[in-house]
């Protein structure tokens, strides 16, 4: 198919980026369609059922921030700016090749950014309800999922049946179960893998083209780690401080935050944020009569700060602290993220009640506060 044109500046791109573009291009040449997503609330079962590739598009570096700031305010969450910037500059292969982008009305910054993004790409925004425990929330979200199915059917000229969705949900559940099993390995002391590597691995799952690929990858890593655990008899505790990381999506500040935690005597044992344990434990009841409602129900269990009220997060953290024997909580927020910044109030309180040291860090994708963050994290770990 010759209508698949690479970006104008393709030749200037670095090797890795070029490969990314070619990898997706090859899939598209084989007839695959790509859906770009930004959020953990996106019901990916719909895309699995439709045989579409779904990939995460969250911007993780400040490479394109300056470009994004031509259209977006400076004082905006770096993740939003980066996501838009990568679309604008055609530097992200996944955004570039997306046939459809699906967003949600999560935080204000994101939903308004989607409106602008709609000028560059085919964007569809789902309406995420508030009040996850209200009786209409589940119905509304289920209805929104049905609308999404319509959009997908029309856009790609296909039919998506409930049975296909149910099968997709069963697979996703298996993937979730495996991910949870993997993440639970971090409760061991010593943990068989650094928190940094764990995150990088989980993040890479967002770029797998099928759930089967993801499942295979998790199984492989699980196998390796279990092998390592049995072949190397457990040493005594490492003395590393066991840290739970919570807050905003952390991919773009992983080196600054998690890198620093683990370079200064800590081990991240649990990620409560997106990409971590919080959403992985939201299983779909695949025996339910109405599978779409069951999916809606599962997704509304996600304890994200964009929700009001967001009791799930407050309930989860104390439990995770116990389960992973957490010795310190690092609440990492991205600059200008009001929802998570304000919730630092609750998380600090919860940690105080649990008797676990707490630190909140506000940062962005730049490197200018690297030294400062490093000192603060090192000092935090020294005081544990």
């Amino acid at each position: 198919m010759s209508d698949l044109k690479l970006p104008e500046k393709f030749d200037e791109y670095a090797e890795g980026r070029k490969n990314g573009f070619l990898r997706v291009k090859a899939a598209k040449e084989a007839g695959k369609k790509v859906v770009g997503i930004f959020c953990t609330f996106t019901p990916v079962e719909v895309f699995d059922a439709a045989g579409l590739i779904s990939v995460g598009l969250c911007g993780m570096s400040d490479e394109t921030t300056a470009d994004a700031e031509r259209d977006l305010p400076k004082n905006l969450c770096p993740l939003i700016k980066a996501s838009y910037g990568f679309a604008l500059t055609e530097k992200c292969p996944y955004t570039y090749w997306s046939d459809l982008i699906v967003g949600e009305t999560t935080c204000d910054g994101k939903k308004k950014m989607y409106e602008l993004l709609g000028q560059l790409k085919d964007v569809y925004t789902m309406n995420l309800p508030q009040g996850p425990d209200r009786d209409y929330a589940k119905k509304m979200w289920a209805h929104e999922i049905r609308l999404l199915i319509d959009v997908v059917e029309k856009k790609f000229g296909i039919r998506v049946t409930d049975e296909q969705i149910r099968e997709a949900a069963i697979k996703r559940n298996e993937f979730r179960r495996l991910k949870v099993e993997l993440m639970e390995l971090l409760s061991m002391d010593p943990a068989p893998i650094s928190g940094y590597d764990m995150y990088k691995f989980l993040e890479s799952m967002g770029f797998q083209f099928t759930v089967d690929d993801s499942i295979a990858a998790v199984k492989k890593l699980l196998g390796e780690l279990k092998e390592q655990i049995t072949s190397q008899p457990a040493a005594a505790g490492t003395g590393r401080k066991r840290i739970l990381v919570t807050g905003c999506p952390i991919g773009g500040v992983l080196d600054k935050v998690v890198g620093s935690i683990e370079a200064n005597g800590g081990q991240v044992v649990c990620y409560e944020n997106c990409g971590g344990i919080k959403a992985a434990r939201c299983f779909v009841d695949t025996d339910a009569e109405d599978i779409v409602e069951a999916i809606a129900d599962a997704y509304l269990q996600i304890g994200c700060a964009v929700m009001d009220p967001n009791n799930r997060r407050k309930e989860n953290i104390p439990e995770l602290i116990k389960e992973f024997r957490v010795e310190g909580v690092v609440d990492a927020t991205l600059q200008a993220c009001h929802t998570y910044m304000i919730e630092t109030y609750w998380i600090r309180k919860i940690c105080e009640e649990a008797g676990v040291p707490y630190m909140s860090l506000e940062t962005d994708y730049s490197q200018s506060d690297k030294g400062q963050i490093d000192t603060r994290i090192a000092a935090f770990i020294e005081t544990i």
Binding site: T363, D369, G371, Q372, T375, R376, A378, A379, E382, T383
Partner: protein, 256 residues
């Protein structure tokens, strides 16, 4: 065996050397300059001149340049070192320590003789020693003079911008409008005190137990304004400037 603590800050490097009995036998402040490694060499030669050669001491480095001191046995953050030094200097277990450093301001809550909680400003230089220096430069005076001028102010003006860059242009326009230098100086020192006040909100503190360390503790007018803003007397000590280095030296004495 001697125990040496080096606090390499962004502007000044402080050194404290202790004897076996943990008494201070030598202390000094030198400008950090642009090359931390060279500064470390200089400090080493000074120690030698004091009869403390390289193989006769154990040392801990702290401060932003802590990783650039090749001979240090260990690096510990300035939060822990300031806390430890201050506990020894002020000889009390519970207080709130304010440290206004060259590029950052820290508020450290001390409970039972150790660091319980702390707050450190983010990346900008608002409310730091660097801010005062830049503003003093804009007024064409040095830091001490700036604070003395501030005390003479008759008609207080306030500098509304916290950001160094904007505050500087505010100061320039005040100068342009012919505002009295003393009044501008007051506004500058006051803005530091306000910034500290807002940072104090992040940790719990008792106005009856406030202590100041860092390079600005020898500036009486700043202490006065801080006390006024924070609603309790902020006390300091001639040694407080060395709190970080002293704490580091004490840590060095505990190294195994």
């Amino acid at each position: 065996m001697n125990f040496v603590g080096i606090d390499m800050g962004s502007t000044c490097s402080k050194l404290v050397a202790l004897n076996e009995a943990k008494e201070i036998v030598y202390k000094e402040v030198v400008p950090t300059g642009w090359n931390c490694v060279e500064t470390a060499e200089t400090l080493l030669s000074h120690l030698e001149a004091q009869g403390i050669p390289k193989d006769a001491f154990r040392s801990v480095a702290t401060g932003y340049g802590r990783v650039s001191i090749p001979f240090a046995d260990k690096c510990i953050t300035e939060i822990s070192c300031h806390g430890k030094g201050a506990v020894a200097i002020f000889d009390e277990p519970d207080f709130t320590l304010i440290d206004i450093g060259g590029q950052d301001t820290k508020v450290i809550e001390i409970k039972g003789g150790s660091v319980k909680n702390f707050y450190m400003n983010d990346k900008c230089s608002a409310g730091t020693g660097r801010f005062l220096e830049i503003m003093a430069g804009t007024l064409g005076v040095d830091l001490n003079k700036l604070c003395e001028l501030g005390r003479q102010s008759q008609n207080h003006v306030s500098i509304s911008s916290m950001c160094t860059v904007f505050a500087e242009s505010e100061v320039i326009s005040l100068i342009g409008r012919g505002t009295d230098k003393a009044d501008i100086a007051y506004g500058i020192v006051e803005s530091i005190a306000n910034k500290v006040k807002s940072q104090m909100g992040r940790v719990s503190s008792d106005p009856a137990h406030l202590r100041l360390s860092g390079g600005l503790c020898e500036v009486p007018f700043l202490l006065e304004l801080l006390s006024e803003k924070l609603g309790g007397e902020v006390k300091t000590d001639p040694l407080a400037r060395y709190a970080g280095a002293y704490g580091a030296a004490l840590f060095a004495s505990e190294l195994k």
